[in-house]
Point group: C2
Chain length 361, copies 2
């Protein structure tokens, strides 16, 4: 497909081309149903297969045991910022939050709006959120510890997860879920908006451990209770069918084409190493995040001037590479290299960066 | 497309074939962006055009003046059951609800879960929800009156909206929005899950009148406040981009191919008349809803026995007509004939019904 660009968007982001081609091919007639996937009833055997397959693949890729429930919600991570404390932080208890940037700050804000007792036990705000805090002391009686595993805007990522000595970890994994293996056991809940590593915007993956469900207050509105989605297998009401369908195809691609999560992680390391090497070997580019906190998903960097940055983004676009402008709140440049961004795309970007530096350095 | 069936699903439901074909054609490269619509950033000129166009078309089709805001949310009508009282029913006041079936019952339940003061001023529960209540006395000081304009399960519809003498009307219009013209002035809020007349599952259209926004409590979670969506033009966080994109195409089809809302309504009346006539002219079929409350969107009917109903649904499917089984909670048969269900499909069904009655009557 020579008309397609190399897509470095931060989200909604690139999807695997074979997945897009499969969607296109069956768009008027899904699996012989005589209907588009967008027209199929959610109470049909066709959609049952789709959502069951999506759940099975999530469980298998992340190696989740039977304690974990896998459900699909709507509203993105932003809705989870409010649902997590509403469901899992009982009055009279407090929760620990680690503030690593814009999204964590919003999660903290939404807990406090509900008059919940929040301890911000660590923050990298004084470091302009360019690193992940170290050596954190958690409150011994915290109801949970909330972290943001990857921070899209400044380009930082937890290289490994903190030991919370048994306190349930809760993580916003919107921007790095399925990018690397990890031990799910310490997690009480994981949430992820689909539009980075999983699929299109419009679905939120929530993984919740059985013991967390006991905390859910009975008197919450039905659509704001995790138990509703667990008890009805994400089908209390009409789910975001198309997004779940695409997620299932992306996970199939991850398992069958890429070859599983270990191989995905190796490819992601390779892509990030190429880019960080291209940045570090010149005096022209400078990485924005501290080296030990660098994200393998969002590579943030600066050029010698804002004018050169604008020029870089524009010329990259002219050369078929899109989405390289930094987040509107910080400027600079950012290459988001989620699972679906190909090695070929990263190599093209590295070549372009070398050329651009030679010309303007 | 001879592989496609005539789709009488209650939702997710049929979409116009030209819309599906347009989506398919540009699925790998949206408007020369080099990306799929599922990969385009919501903060891009491409998506700005999509959502702006969707809003403009909603405003134009429904003839909304500047008092009304048009926003897209997630979570379906079920989320609105909880958000409406949360935002618009202040403590110390009460709201009137009319109970016309399953969905209204759920709306009432979600208000009461929040300990809101709800008056069920009329109900057709004793008539098994097979009619719309008449001559309703509303509470003079109600904060709003909530109705369900069309009831998918039993197949009833408000032929005209009640005069609430200035009390804001709020309606769940999930299953008949954009099916007929109406005066929007009495409405404080209208909500509609997209998956019947507007597009695929995954987006909820909300139309809210400016004066309603003044009621929204400031201390609600951000994602549960209507003001958040109005102030940020539905883009506080990543919206359900694909669903909004399809909605915009469906509305373009409604305006440019069908020729506008009056023509849509005439076509819908024609389709419903054909079907109800096919039911009434025999002693074989019997309409489920009372005649003066019949829905133009969901035509519910019975056959002489459950065995014949099963046989009818199966044989219709064998003849390329799907989705005719009644809702799992009531049985019988149901033909949902939303905007996108063609006259051709309805004629095919009528022919099949005649044949089936002759053979089994």
């Amino acid at each position: 497909m020579k008309d397609r660009i190399h897509n470095f968007n931060a989200g909604p982001a690139a999807l695997p081309l074979p997945v897009l081609e499969e969607i296109q091919a069956e768009f008027l007639d899904f699996k012989g149903s005589g209907m588009s996937i967008t027209e199929v009833s959610h109470r049909s055997k066709w959609f049952d297969d789709v959502i069951e397959n999506a759940v099975v693949r999530v469980r298998r890729v992340l190696d989740l045991d039977e304690r974990f429930h896998v459900v699909f919600l709507q509203g993105g991570a932003s809705m989870q910022f409010c649902m997590v404390p509403m469901n899992l932080l009982p009055d009279g208890q407090s929760a620990d939050y680690v503030n690593t940037g814009t999204w964590a700050t919003k999660a903290i804000k939404e807990a406090r709006i509900q008059a919940k007792d929040v301890n911000v036990v660590a923050s990298s705000e004084e470091q302009n959120f360019l690193c992940i805090p170290k050596d954190i002391s958690f409150s011994p009686h915290a109801a949970y510890v909330h972290i943001t595993s990857n921070n899209t805007i400044k380009g930082t990522q937890w290289a490994s997860f903190p030991d919370t000595t048994g306190i349930p970890l809760i993580s916003d994994m919107s921007s790095d879920i399925m990018s690397r293996p990890f031990d799910p056991s310490p997690f009480g809940l994981i949430y992820a908006g689909a539009q980075k590593n999983l699929g299109p915007a419009g679905a939120t993956l929530v993984i919740i451990r059985q013991d967390m469900l006991e905390r859910v207050p009975q008197d919450l509105p039905t659509m704001l209770k995790y138990t509703t989605f667990v008890e009805k297998n994400s089908m209390f009401n009409t789910p975001p069918c198309f997004a779940v369908y695409v997620i299932q195809l992306v996970l199939k691609w991850l398992e069958e084409t890429v070859g599983g999560l270990e191989k995905m992680a190796a490819l992601n390391r390779q892509k990030a190493n190429l880019l960080y090497h291209a940045i570090d070997k010149t005096g022209f580019y400078s990485g924005a995040a501290e080296k030990d906190s660098r994200s393998l998903m969002n590579v943030t960097f600066r050029l010698p001037s804002e004018e050169l940055e604008r020029h870089f983004v524009q010329q990259a676009m002219d050369n078929g590479m899109g989405g390289l402008k930094g987040h509107r709140s910080v400027g600079g440049c950012r290459a988001s290299i989620y699972n679906s961004t190909s090695l070929e795309a990263v190599k093209a970007l590295v070549d372009f960066m070398e050329e651009f530096a030679q010309k303007h350095g």
